[in-house]
Every structure is written in structure tokens, then in C-alpha cells.
Amino acid sequence: MLFKRIFQFIIVYFTGIISLMIIKYTLSLSNYVIPGLPELAETACDHFGQYFFDVINTLSVTLLGQIISIFMAFAVGIAGRKSSWTGSFIKVTAYNIQAFPIVALAPIIFILLGDGFLSRLLIASMICYFPLLLSVLGIMASPVKDMEHFYLVTGKMRWQLEIKIRAFENLGKLTTVITGSATLAMAGTIVGEFIAANAGIGYSIRVALYQSDLGKILIALLMIGIVISIYQGFLETVGERIKAKWLGTSAESTSLTKEV
């Protein structure tokens, strides 16, 4: 499973590299525009370790950022699920904040939070949170009538229960979205680092970009891809566990009662 993921990523990555090489050699571009394979290999050797630790550093922020945005997305999605004025107000607020590109908000963020870890985290969360919000809102706003009826007519419905029912009925969708959002959190962190930090792989990419060093960027991308594959594989496993637990099926049982 995990190896499949990494393997698939490697295929994608090297397809990309090969395309670049084809472009390079058909247009006979210099190593400055697109580095050749030997240069790439050299860059890899020189910077592999450094970039690996950079990505791990980034990952730590990603993790926190993702958790924060999951919480934010659920909070806003839940608060905004009703079609009441408040609900739609919360939605509008959430939407509008996102409409402002982070780069434009960045100065304001820096004024309020200073630069460093917090800004990096905030930017990461903001980029990751909105897509999550969209999905959570979609799920939280659709009633599951045949389950909710009982609680509604008996006056037992509380908002926590409503959310639990809707989340449960859309468990598959939610785990897909949350797993997928790891990528967004990573991208967000990197953007944040690019703008605001002096650590992490985003920062390293910025430095490489200033030096127009595509080779370094490509190696950084490789590291990002590998680490994110692992992280996502991990999330997927956790997701499966949670699903199995909540649905009350073990891997064993599902295979026994399987559809043929």
C-alpha cells in the first residue's frame, strides 16, 4: 500500500524528469535553464540530506497546520450549515477571507503576528482549510432524513448528534477529503515558508529560485513527493482503521461477507 504509493510517485516524478530532459535535448538548452542528468545527480548527492531534514521540518508544521484547519473547517462548516442568516454570514466570512490571496494578506498577517513560526502556521492552515471547509459544508448541510426523523420528532436532536449522523453517513467522503488535504496542508506550509520563514523546504526552494537553480528545485520536489506519499499513506491507514471501527467491520469480516 505505502510502497505502491511511493512507487507510483516515483513513476510520476521520473516521467516529469524525462519530459524535461526531452525538452532540454531537443531544444539543446544549457544546464542553466534545465540541468542535465549528471548535474541533477550531483545536486541530489549534495543536498539530499539537507532537503530531507527541511522537508521533515516542513512536515511538522504541516501536521499542526492540517490539524488546525480540520478543526477550523469543521467549526465553520458546522456553524455555517444552516441556511439561516447567521449560517450564511459565517459562510460568507469564511469565503471572503479565502478570496483574498494569502500573498495580499501576508503583510497584515505579519503586522499582527510578526514573522516566524506562527505566520507560517497560519498561512499553511488558511490554504488547507478552505477546500476542507467546502467539503465539510457540503456534507454538513445535507440532512440524512431517514435517520434524523426520529430525533427530530422526539425532540432529541442536538447539534452534536446531527453532525455525528451526517459525518457518519459520509465517512468515506470525509476520509478522502481529509487524507487529500494533507497535500494542501503541505503546499500551504511551503507557500508560507516561501513567503515568511527562514526554515523548511519552502525556504530552500525560495533560495534556489533566487539562484535560478532548477536542479535544486527538482530535488526538493522529489523529497516533498516522497515524504508526502509516506504521510498520506499513513493518514490513509489511520482513516481505514477509524472507518473500520466506526462501521463495526474488521478487515476480516468485510472479506467474508464480500460482494462477489
Binding site: 544549457s30 535553464v33 520563514a197 527562514n198 525556504y203 539562484q211
Partner: protein, 310 residues
């Protein structure tokens, strides 16, 4: 291949920066029809940090461009086919701004390199200001731990909020704007200019490809003539009103007052003395730049940059 000596008519010229007073000469040459007068049709394209004229030369998106010396040297080091045909700025506009009354009472000024000690300095990691500042540190015998360094982004808030004392800016664009902003609030500023301390790291220069030089030498000549003529005219104080109008046309969001000051500062970089030949390549400065980059391990071996200066 045999030189073709043919004319090339549709020419793309990629600048290094947005349209503003720092590219006044380029705008002038374009708008006043100097290129057309030479019989070439030039499209002047705006630059930005993410755009790279050297890449565009190779890919054929541009025929001429503006790049800083460190870009050129790094590209040559990696086998790019790049030649420098003019040096627009004789003095590197990359300088550091600071408040003269930063602590409210005492007048502060950087007179010697030792004045940097104990200060909080901004540096764009990976940018050429990092290379320059490192050279300054070596020159002044300043150890990294004797100063505080903060990574710099494109916005100035940390400097404005006095978190960082000495902040890198382009002297003739952002430098003017910042100076003006602070002046309005009753603060006066100074600029730390590395070339005052003997560090002549070359900045914006006009480049083209070897292929262009070989295949269309006439076109290169015409382009260069028109461009230098444009810069000469733009920098001529007598033409100030015209230059101002032309820049304002392209840079709507700056006030005339600011643009006027920017032109004034740009003039000092392009023509350090009244009689300075516009666009002249300062070979010694290029050699020094190469030496600095070699020492800072920006390049692995010498490129003999003088061979690429035409």
C-alpha cells in the same frame, strides 16, 4: 554555422523589473521610437523576480534582456550562451536603508563597516544582497555572531515596525518610496551603499545570446544604439518632464513626486559623473563580482567573465 548577417525584425526585450523609473531609459527608447528609427521592431516586456531573461534568451522567448551580474555569471558557469552588451547601472542599486534616528535620540549613521556591528540587518537569503553583505562582513572583519540577521521578504513591515534596523532595498525604486514615507512621519533615513566601501558588485546589465551576436550582429548594434540613446535621453535633466510623463504612463500607481525622485536616483546610478559614458561595461567591477562569487562558492570554478563582455 555560417554567420547569416540577416536582419531580425521582431525583437523581444525582457526587463528585470516592473515598469517604473528604474527602467526609464528602456521606456524612453521604446516610446520615443528610437528602436523604430533604427529599423527594428522591439517589444519591451516587464520583468519580475520570477522571470528570468537568460532562460528566455535560450528558449527564444526574448532576444535581449536585463539580468544582474550574478545571474549572468552563474548562467555562464552552467554553460549558458550569454553575453553582456551593456552595463546599465554603474553603481549597484542594491543598498541598505536605515533610520538615522533609530533609537529616537542619537543620530546614527554608517560611516565605517564597524558601525554594522551589533545591528539588526535584513538579508534576502539566496539573493545577491546576501553575497554582497557577506563580502562586506569579510571586508570589515565582522563575524556573523556580531550582527543579528533576519531573512527578508518582499514587504517592509519588519523595517517599518522597527523590528529590523538595516533593510535591503533597491535604492532608486523602493528606496525612494520608503524614504518618502518615513520623511512624512518625521524620520530621516540613510543608505548604506557597499560601493562606498569598495565592493562593486555589478547589477543590471543588458544581455543577449552568442547566437544573436553571431547571426544578427547588425541588429545587436542597432538595438544597443537605440537603447543607449534612450537611456541618455531619459537621464538628461533637460528631458526630465518627458521622462516623467513616459514613466507615469506605465506606472500609474506612483505619484509624480515619487517618480521624479526615482529618476533622480536612477540618474546617479547610470551616470555617476556628468561625462560618464552611458552603458559602459566596468570590466574591473565584473572581475570583482566574479571573484566574490567564487569566494562565496556561488560558482565552482572561474568563468573568466571578461570574455563574455562585448
Amino acid at each position: 554555422p555560417k554567420p547569416m548577417h540577416a536582419e531580425k525584425n521582431n525583437i523581444n526585450y525582457r526587463l528585470k523589473w516592473l515598469f517604473n523609473a528604474s527602467v526609464a531609459g528602456d521606456i524612453y527608447a521604446d516610446e520615443k521610437g528610437y528602436f523604430r528609427a533604427e529599423g527594428i521592431d522591439v517589444t519591451v516586456k516587464e520583468g519580475s523576480p520570477e522571470k528570468n531573461a537568460i532562460n528566455e534568451l535560450e528558449l527564444g522567448y526574448a532576444d535581449f534582456g536585463v539580468a544582474s551580474a550574478d545571474q549572468v555569471i552563474r548562467a555562464i558557469n552552467k554553460g549558458a550562451d550569454v553575453y553582456v552588451i551593456a552595463q546599465l547601472f554603474q553603481v549597484n542599486p542594491m543598498q541598505w536603508i536605515y533610520r538615522k534616528n533609530s533609537d529616537g535620540t542619537k543620530e546614527f549613521e554608517i560611516k565605517t563597516l564597524q558601525d554594522l556591528k551589533g545591528r539588526h540587518i535584513g538579508i534576502t537569503f539566496g539573493g545577491n544582497d546576501e553575497t554582497i553583505m557577506n563580502t562586506i562582513f569579510t571586508l570589515g572583519g565582522i563575524k556573523k555572531r556580531e550582527v543579528r540577521i533576519t531573512g527578508v521578504r518582499f514587504d517592509f513591515t519588519p523595517f517599518l515596525r522597527k523590528k529590523v534596523e538595516i533593510w535591503p532595498v533597491y535604492r532608486n525604486s523602493q528606496g525612494v518610496i520608503l524614504e518618502d514615507k518615513l520623511y512624512r512621519e518625521g524620520e530621516s533615513v540613510g543608505f548604506f551603499n557597499p560601493s562606498d566601501f569598495g565592493v562593486n558588485f555589478v547589477a543590471n546589465s543588458v544581455i543577449t545570446s552568442g547566437k544573436m551576436l553571431q547571426q544578427h550582429p547588425e541588429t545587436v548594434k542597432k538595438f544597443l544604439n537605440a537603447l543607449i540613446e534612450g537611456w541618455d535621453a531619459a537621464m538628461n535633466p533637460e528631458n526630465e518632464a518627458i521622462t516623467l510623463e513616459l514613466v507615469k504612463e506605465k506606472d500609474k500607481s506612483s505619484s509624480s513626486d515619487i517618480i521624479k525622485k526615482q529618476i533622480f536616483e536612477t540618474r546617479k546610478l547610470v551616470k555617476p559623473t556628468e561625462s560618464w559614458e552611458t552603458g559602459k561595461i566596468n570590466v574591473d567591477a565584473w572581475k570583482q563580482t566574479e571573484a566574490i562569487m567564487l569566494k562565496e562558492k556561488q560558482i565552482e570554478e572561474p568563468v573568466n567573465i571578461e570574455k563574455f563582455l562585448k
